[in-house]
Symmetry: C2
Subunit: 209 residues, 2 copies
DNA sequence: GTTTTTGCACTGACCAGTCAGTTCAAATTC
DNA sequence: GAATTTGAACTGACTGGTCAGTGCAAAAAC
């Protein structure tokens, strides 16, 4: 019988194997980088034979590309959900940004290895998955840009802000603060980190109160 | 990275060769990553024989470690210089942060490949140069932390800010905005980027004016 | 005459990708 | 319902190529 896989459920044996391979690959590549990670290692960590990797993915880099798409899909969904929830609850646009900061932190808290690997690869050039990465980056940044644009239209943010640069900067703020948190101050709570970033977002560090 | 002939007294022939090797290695590793870059490539790009690489550096990873130390040295010197210049000119602490943001942007504008490579390696674990990276990171972040601490002591910043988290976030803001700028919007001017980050720093995006 | 660089052949480990063969649960047949 | 067939999923030994690092005699630079 054909595997059919019901489009979303993915409860086939194959899907389970792919999932195990994603999990094994994400930590190894985050720790060592793509080129330093061998297919044998990935297979071993996943508890699977090397041939199975090639049965499920055309090549090492295809495995990696699909892993990237998979992960960023989760992230954007989570960001968008946070923005929409705020909207629904009648919050302002700053509230939406703040909710997205928190959603970003929760994501990184849950998938630190993925985030690490994403950052490590994003600004490289000359790699085969370059285009995948660009698409995937744009998806994530666009969510932030949309909120900023709406905020300007609603008169809540200054008209002079540069949407794309500000979005980049906000993403960077969250990304780097969260990675530093996970790597060097893992004892801090998510709320601490969120509070610090909130304060910065709302200009409560300098200037006004 | 730069000619440095007069800088630290190292104007020997050997020093010139090492410099050429740094320059070759930094771009190649930024593009491809450490493991994917071969010693033969580095030698070829530097216009030098492979044996020369090993005459000047004990191994491929030692070359890389010394490259890291070299680059971050330049960065911290530049940040500290910016902070001190502001001090001397009687500027406030926000002015000092702002000057450091600009110094960071100027650095990244000049050495984009180094920045790229630094970010790609910083949060990895299990690598031989891990400890070098930690030291070097701390040097850079400490400069920002010092200014924040002074600002709090002088009553210019809220006492409630979390020094280390805020410093991380500020560094991240500059790093990511600048890398996105160089990679995806290279036509923008440094002043544009600086203006956008300044606005964010001073909370002129949301909340207050 | 010492330091540095060159050119190049060589080695041994390592690794991406292949392929002939195995496993096993579900489908089919009798 | 026992015997047989099917095929997707998986296995792991093997191959062909790559690359870090070595060794060394001769040339060049200082």
């Amino acid at each position: 019988m054909e595997s059919s896989s019901a489009a979303s459920g993915g409860s086939t044996r194959r899907e389970a194997t792919r999932q195990k391979l994603y999990e094994a690959a994400v930590t190894l590549i985050a720790e060592q980088g793509f080129s330093a990670t061998t297919v044998d290692e990935i297979a071993e960590r996943a508890g699977v034979a090397k041939g199975t990797v090639y049965y499920n993915f055309a090549s090492k880099s295809v495995l990696f590309e699909e892993l990237l798409r998979h992960g960023v899909g989760l992230l954007t969904a989570s960001l968008r959900e946070a923005a929409e929830r705020t909207e629904r609850e009648g919050g302002s646009k700053v509230d939406a940004l703040d909710a997205m900061i928190r959603a970003g932190l929760v994501f990184i808290d849950r998938y630190p290895a993925f985030t690490q690997l994403y950052v490590a690869e994003l600004w490289r050039t000359n790699r085969t998955w370059q285009s995948t990465l660009m698409v995937v980056r744009q998806q994530a940044v666009a969510v932030v840009e949309d909120v900023l644009r709406d905020g300007v239209a609603a008169g809540e943010f200054s008209e002079e802000i540069d949407i794309s640069l500000t979005a980049s900067a906000l993403v960077g703020m969250v990304l780097v603060a969260a990675l530093d948190w996970k790597s060097f101050q893992a004892e801090r709570s998510l709320d601490d980190v969120h509070a610090a970033l909130s304060r910065l977002l709302q200009g409560r560090v300098s200037g006004c109160r």
